[in-house]
Structure formats: C-alpha cells, structure tokens
C-alpha cells in the first residue's frame, strides 16, 4: 500500500490546505449516504469506501494525488481573464470573475503545472469545475496552449484532466475559438511525438468534449462520470423521451468506443505511471 502512505504524507505536509480536512469532520457520500471521516475520505482520494462514488474534486486535490510528494511548479499561475466583450447579462462578467476568484481562491478554471509522477517528469493540466462551471474561456485555452508549448520545449508528456460544462458564454466566440486553438496546439505535440493523455472526469461536456478532451493518444475516464457533447437535458428535449439508463456515462462511452479504459481514482497514479512507461518517456 505504498500509494496510501504517500497520500497520507501529502495530506499532512502542505499547511495551507490543511483546513480542508479538519479532524473530527465527517463526509457523507452523495450517492449511498455512507458516512466516513473526512480524513479517510481524503486518504481514499475522495472516493466513497463503500460504493466507490467519486466526489468531484479540483486541481489542488488532483495535483496532490498525482505529483510525487505534492511537489510541482505551477505554470503561468497569474494568467487571468480579460473582459474582451465587456459582457453583461444579469451580472457583469467582471463581477462574476471577481466573485468566483474570491469564492474559490483560484485565478481561472484551469491550473497547469510540471513535476514528477512516480519519477516521470510530466506536465499536468487540471480544470476546476468550481470556477464558473469549469468553463473554457481565453484563459483556459491560453494556459493549455502554453502548457503544450512547455511540454514540447522540455520534452515532457502532457496529461490533462477535464472537468467542464463547456464554453464560457461570457467570452462568446473567443471561447469557441479556444477549441480550435487547443486542438491546433495538440498537432504540434503530436508532431514532437510526445504523449497526450486525456482524463475525463465528472462532468466533461460541450466544447471541451468537442476538442482536447477527446483528442488524447489515450482517453481515460473516472467511473460514473458524465461525458458528452450536448448536455443530457438538451438531448432529452431533442428526442422528447427519457434517456436510457447510463446514457453519457463513462461506461457508456467505453462501450461505444470513445475511451481506452476507465480507471478508479485510487489507481490513477499507478496506472498513469504504467502508461508513461509504455510510452517510454522518462
């Protein structure tokens, strides 16, 4: 159980993240209502030990799970959104951004970093659903593009964890073009023969599914994640019927040929290490 120990160390080292898992607090599974201590929940990679439900987590947690000893160098940390369209609906976009930043402590909906994963030097990007639904605006596209540049310059594999409702409407066509931008950048990574591993997590929909998330040399998903292009509500309205059970889940996508495999979060790191070994990039 070496992964377990490592994770426990990861939990106890970074002091600023300690407040998330105060001792004596309980986690109640959203799926089976099983109650476990928050500490146990964290130690199980935020997966229910009874039913295996994968709780939604963000970049802080994924980096902790994947990077050796939770050590990494964040790339382009301070790249943040402009408001190119001076967008305003019921709220100003700048106000939405400000309140999201305050609420989450994040700068935007993706963080990118480089470090070691079981000794492999890698670049990892991870989306944060808490930040305006993990929506892809200019910052998400730009940070992914720069992370790919960094991967190429330093000959490191690129791993991207998707978790997004899709486009960021408040950036309209700028948001749309991030799909083309990130996909175009991935052609350069492919040309450099560096692996791109796409990890799809709950939820991955819209423009993210229709661009980088589906373009992995291998596409992996966590169990039970919602993955699709159109959201289930839209599909339901289109066909005017209830959706079949399990529609647009990871298992559904695997069955239809769009995923290489599904991996449980507790096995994610060791699995990635095996894959990286196969790709022979060390």
């Amino acid at each position: 159980m070496s992964w377990f120990k490592r994770k426990m160390q990861g939990v106890s080292t970074p002091t600023k993240e300690k407040k998330e898992t105060p001792e004596g607090l309980w986690y109640k599974c959203r799926s089976c209502k099983n109650v476990m201590t928050s500490e146990d929940h964290v130690a199980h990679s935020w997966v229910c030990d009874k039913c295996g439900f994968h709780e939604r987590i963000g970049s802080i947690e994924y980096f902790r799970i994947l990077f050796d000893e939770n050590k990494f160098t964040e790339l382009n940390r301070n790249v943040s959104s402009g408001d190119p369209l001076v967008f305003e609906d019921t709220k100003k976009y700048t106000d939405r951004l400000a309140s999201s930043k305050k609420k989450t402590g994040l700068v935007d909906a993706v963080r990118t970093a480089t470090g070691k994963l079981e000794g492999h030097l890698v670049v990892i990007g991870c989306m944060d659903f808490n930040f305006i639904g993990g929506s892809m605006g200019s910052v998400v596209g730009e940070k992914i593009a720069r992370a790919i540049d960094y991967s190429i310059e330093n000959k490191r594999p690129f791993i991207l964890i998707s978790k997004s409702g899709g486009a960021r409407m408040m950036e309209a066509a700028f948001s749309l073009m991030q799909m083309a931008k990130t996909s175009a950048k991935l052609t350069l990574l492919a040309k450099a023969k560096l692996p791109f591993i796409s990890i799809l997590t709950d939820p991955t929909t819209g423009g993210v599914t229709a661009s980088f998330a589906m373009l992995g040399d291998i596409n992996i998903a966590e169990p039970g994640a919602l993955i699709g292009f159109a959201g289930p509500r839209v599909v339901k309205e289109t066909i005017g019927k209830d959706l079949p059970e399990g529609f647009q889940t990871s298992e559904f996508l695997l069955e239809h040929g769009f995923l290489d495999y599904i991996v449980e979060r507790n096995d994610l790191k060791s699995n990635l290490s095996i894959m990286l070994n196969h790709f022979q990039v060390k």
Binding site: L85, F87, D89, A172, L176, A180, T209, A210, M214
Partner: protein
Amino acid sequence: MATFLDFESPIADLNEQLEKALEIKAKGKVDVSEMIKDIEEKISETQKEIYSNLNPWQRVQVSRHPERPYTMSYLKNMTTDFVELHGDRNVNDDKAMIGGFAKIDGHSIMFIGQQKGENTKMRQYRNFGMANPEGYRKALRLMKLAEKFNKPIVTLIDTPGAYPGLEAEERGQGEAIARNLFEMAQLKVPVICIVIGEGASGGALGIGVGDRILMLENSWYSVISPENCSAILWRNWEHKEQAASALKLTAENMLENKLIDGIIKEPVGGAHSNREEMFENVKKAILSNLKELISMDAEKRIEERIEKFSKMGVVED
C-alpha cells in the same frame, strides 16, 4: 411571394403598393409607369436605409431568411462540374453535410458545407442543417481526399449547431468535431472557410479551421445562438436581442476581435435579394484568397494557420 422580416415592414408595404400598381398596369387602361418607377425607387431607398443600419439581432434574422441561398445554391450557381460525393464510409450519408469537387475558373476545389432544406419537407430531410457525427466524418474524408490530390478546400458554414440527438452522442459527436479541428489544423492544402448564414458553436467550427476565415456581411458566428444564450443567462427567451448584441456575433464584431480574416459584402437587402450578385461576391473572394494561399509553401501555410488560432483570445498576464 417574397418573405419580409419584421423590421422590413416599410419595404413590405411598398411592395404591396407595387403589386397593386402592376395589376393596374396589366389591365392596360391607365398608364401607371411613372408610379411604378417611383415606388421601385422608394423600395430601393428604403431598403438601403434599413440595411445600412441593421442591429445584431436583425442580422441574425437575415442570416436565417427562408430565401437565403444555402450551400447547394452556391455550388450550382457559382461553380461548374460539381460532382457530389456521399458518405462517411462507416455509418451512413449525412444529408445535413454535403460536399464534392467543383470548379471555379479552372481550379478544382473540394467544397464542403452544411445544407439546409428549402421547404418543409426538405428541411426535415436535411435535418435543418444540423449534422450528426457522420457529417463531420464525411467532411473529414473529403478533406483528406482533397489533400491527397493537392486540391484546395472551401467550406461553407451554415448551421444552427451540431445535432444534439441520442445517436449523435452514441456515435461520438464530440469526438467527430474534435477530430476535425485537429486534422484541419494540419491539412497540407489551402483551406478557406466561409460563414454564409449561421455559424453556431462547435457545429460550425467543426468545418471551420482554415487559412482564411471569412463571413458574409449578414451572417453570424458565436458559441451559442442568441435565443439559447438568453435562455441560459437570463433564464427566459425574451432577451434574445440583448444576447445578440452582447455576444458580438456579427461579421464586423468578429473582424474587430481578430477572430476572422475578412467580410464578404452582401447585396443591399441581404444575400437573398440578389442571389447572382451574392454568388459573384463569394466567387471573387474565394479566387483572390486562393491566389494568395496557393503561392505559399505548405509548411509555412500550416504554421501560419496554427499561429493565427493560437493568438485568439484575450488574457491578462
């Protein structure tokens, strides 16, 4: 009978007067030729006035005008030797996405575009221009075919979106579009993409990565339609006009934001009011852009294409 949009009601009124005058003329008892000339002049003036001042929502309406020329009309009227090619070689032939070789001024070009139907029956048949994954895969097959024989590609974009159906999801709508973005970015032949009507979201972008992205003057291009944007952000359908403005979806806005490379002028009154002129304008735009692109080295062209898309977006460092 011409179809008039709500903001065209002054033109519709004048048109009614014109029709009455023509009836009188047909009876041959009264000379109304002066009157007819007057009305015709007024129509043209009014049209010019209205069309020089269209707001974004009105342009969206023009882009969806039932008489607006669709992809097939361009192919039939702007090119010669068009041979339609069918099927994705896998599942079926998507009727919402058409393509094939055609000639303009001696150049063989691969044309690909969404196709909307021109009447109720055909609209169903064409699935309202909403392609399934097979459509995007057919498009890619044709692009690869063009690349193999070193022929340039022109895509004509006109879609309210990729089809959000159950089978579309089963067969990987997201993957199909993503694959096209990836492959189009590195096609070795010149690629010109023209939004001729509606450019809605990933469904439009799925055939929209190229060396030149052009928009017709009254087309629109964005991540979502104004109606759906209104529904999501305002939680009702009433704010579509406001949404159309906020989305900055017009050709002019898109050019200002450096998200497209050029605008193709429409005749006064929109593409449908003078189709021949529209076909001619599009043909000229294709030829002039093609001339520039053909003379470039393929690697250089790909590099510039990727560079162009890489620059899109506004961030603060």
